[in-house]
């Protein structure tokens, strides 16, 4: 109301009084904004003075210089001769690969534990409760250090634990069999993605038609047909899907796909810690759907799996999605604890940059920009998804 300067003012326009709410509102705003501006200006002048005295340059010119820091664990090609800019990109990818894989695994594990907590089996539900309580009440950083120490205490590569055929756990990390990625595989993946999108479009169309005339239409023949596309692409390009088994040669494994101990402990810590919170969210989401919904749907003669998929889950998801979003954001932000065990994520690389160049402001600003961008993307995606499943009110 105080902003409505353009509106025709009431009659008391010229009657200026300190008791007038609008006047008070303006005074408050001017005072608060004035203080904020003054504080920022004061900090700004201090900072620029200090920077001048200490001869620290600002700006992002350093991004073009040679980084000279080693990054051990990376998916992108990197050498210390590369620029700071590229080091930051490598750091962002390292953060994302923990965050994205962590979110997927934590959701799966959390859902299982959450459902286990609601089990009618007393032992199972008690164990799930203990799991949640223990993981939630110990600081994540402590859990992370604990996992890391355990990883370091594992036997050396020569005495590595063989978990499955081709899966080895040692103090050098976890080694898995891998499929060497070449251009052919990427084409197949692209075809699979296109087929998935096509299926989504077809399914929407089928549902829309079903809404029109009420006749049930089956989607699986289309799914089968579309699944043939990537298979055909793979066959026609002659892509090899041979699996490379890791092999112990000398002191290290050759071939296969290695998860470094740092990455592996960070992933375990983040996934188990976050899964405890997700379990509680899933549990309360399912409990929020009243039992009457089950009873009513079963009374209509619907199958249990259909009731779960089409009636209970959609309603539970509405309760689950908003708190789940904040857990995903937490996991992403918590991945920055990597710096404590030496996994080189964006925070760790920015920290090294800061120590090497002294450009504290720019390095920390970069961390903040990166995390604000990631947070915003997750929020936007989850809000979009939430809008998709929201109750359509008439």
């Amino acid at each position: 109301m105080t902003t409505s300067a353009s509106k025709p003012r009431p009659r008391k326009q010229l009657h200026f009084s300190l008791r007038d709410d609008r006047v008070k509102g303006w005074i408050w705003q001017v005072v608060v904004v004035g203080i904020a501006v003054a504080v920022v200006a004061w900090l700004w002048s201090n900072t620029s003075h200090n920077l001048a005295v200490r001869r620290i340059s600002t700006g992002f010119a350093f991004l073009g210089r040679e980084a000279g820091m080693p990054i051990v664990d990376t998916w992108l090609p990197y050498s210390p001769k590369d620029t700071y800019f590229w080091a930051f990109v490598v750091g962002i990818v390292n953060t994302l690969r923990v965050a994205v894989i962590g979110i997927v695994l934590a959701t799966a594990l959390g859902t299982i534990v959450g459902i286990a907590r609601l089990s009618s089996n007393w032992l199972l539900s008690r164990l799930a409760a203990v799991y949640v309580e223990v993981l939630r009440d110990i600081p994540l950083l402590l859990q992370l250090l604990f996992w890391y120490v355990l990883m370091q205490g594992l036997p050396a590569t020569r005495a590595a634990w063989k978990l499955l055929d081709g899966v080895f756990l040692s103090n050098r990390g976890l080694v898995l069999p891998s499929i060497p990625i070449e251009a052919g595989q990427l084409w197949v993946l692209l075809a699979a993605l296109l087929a998935l999108i096509a299926f989504y479009v077809v399914r929407r169309h089928l549902i829309a038609q079903q809404m029109q005339d009420g006749r049930v239409r089956r989607a699986w023949p289309y799914a089968l047909a579309l699944a043939m596309i990537p298979v055909a692409v793979s066959w026609s390009l002659g892509v090899s899907w041979a699996v490379t088994m890791p092999e112990l040669r000398g002191f290290n494994f050759v071939g296969g796909w290695t998860l470094s101990p740092e990455y592996f402990s960070l992933l375990i810590a983040l996934v188990t810690y976050t899964s405890a919170f997700i379990a509680e969210i899933v549990r309360s989401g399912i409990q929020a759907v009243s039992k009457g919904q089950w009873d009513a749907a079963l009374a209509l003669g619907l199958r249990r799996s259909f009731v779960l998929r089409q009636i209970v889950l959609p309603q539970a998801l509405r309760v689950i999605i908003p708190p789940m979003t904040s857990q995903y954001l937490n996991l992403t932000k918590n991945s920055s604890l990597a710096v404590a065990i030496g996994y080189q994520d964006i925070v760790s690389i920015a920290n090294t940059t800061l120590n090497q160049t002294g450009q504290a402001i720019d390095a920390i600003a970069l961390i903040m920009v990166v995390f604000l961008t990631i947070s915003l993307s997750i929020s936007l995606f989850m809000n979009w998804y939430n809008a998709q499943i929201a109750l359509v009110e008439r």
Binding site: L123, V347, I364
Partner: protein, 371 residues
Amino acid sequence: MTSAADTQGSRALLSHSDHGVFARALRWLRTNLFSSIFSSIITLVLIFLLAKMLFSLAQWGIWNAIWSVPGNNTGACRALRGVGACWAVIPEKIRFILFGSYTYDQQWRPAAATLIFIALFYLSSRRSWWRRELVLVWVAALALISVLMWGGIFGLSFVPQDRWGGLPVTLILATFGLAFGFPLGILVALGRRSKLPAIRSLCVLYVELIRGVPLISLLFMASVMFPLFMPEGFNIDKLLRAQIAFILYAGAYLAEVIRGGLQAIPRGQQEAADALGLSYWQTNRLVILPQAIRHVIPPLVNTFIAFFKDTSLVLIIGIFDLLTTAKTAIIDPAWQAFSVEVYIFVALIYFAFCFAMSRYSRQLETQSPSK
């Protein structure tokens, strides 16, 4: 439904000895552990796994464990590494883990401060104490703790801040962070719901900026950038700088919780207060806030738990809280190999505090005073 039917069935079967302890136990087992074939399989598999795990844990932690070693001679411990725990590290290092490098013969002072903290938390959790005087109790207790920790008066020797460490530092960071973050959170929550656009956008900016970035980046800012922000020659202690970062961090998160409570208050309350001629501050202080905060006490306690755990992040900027002292205690070459034992010990301390809070929050939820 199936379990209900089963109960009925077993009741019919066992009706002749319905009140016997044995019969009741059997009935409990049937309904809760062996209600169906699937459930029975799960129970048996879980019992097997649990027994196996508990057995190897007991073997490591109790039967094969070494509880004390004479004169720092950890050879026996190291020979047993991976087979048995070396609990001897705990009595050896406990003073350092709990109180850091605080002057050794004065360590009763941080111990007393810790007890005052615990008494303060206990008092604040009693519903009968939720009165205005509680604020005075807090001020008095925090002042007393400051005197105990710093000293310099009443015949207590002065202990500089950089010698503080361990549990009191964790409690100080958490408690002072909340004590100052809470009023800040209230102001920001009110500001975010204000009709004044400039104040509202300032509050939104503050909350979203703090919540959008990891706590570590705030701590880095406090430890690296703070000296740059201040006039030349002016510098404050590292602990205080981290404390400021924690207050700003707590303020943003608490503001969102309190805002949730404000949204739950029906408009009629505001209108009634307006009709009585109360001012903005009177309305909020006497009518809106008391109701709003009562609404959100369980989520507030959950925020407190998260915040208490988050104080451990100061490890990364090198402040000696409980986790940092634990990690430092095992730098000693003789004891280097026994970090697992020390981490378990510290985890138990954190767990005790957080578990008490989470129990308390659940108790409040079930009591549900507002309904």
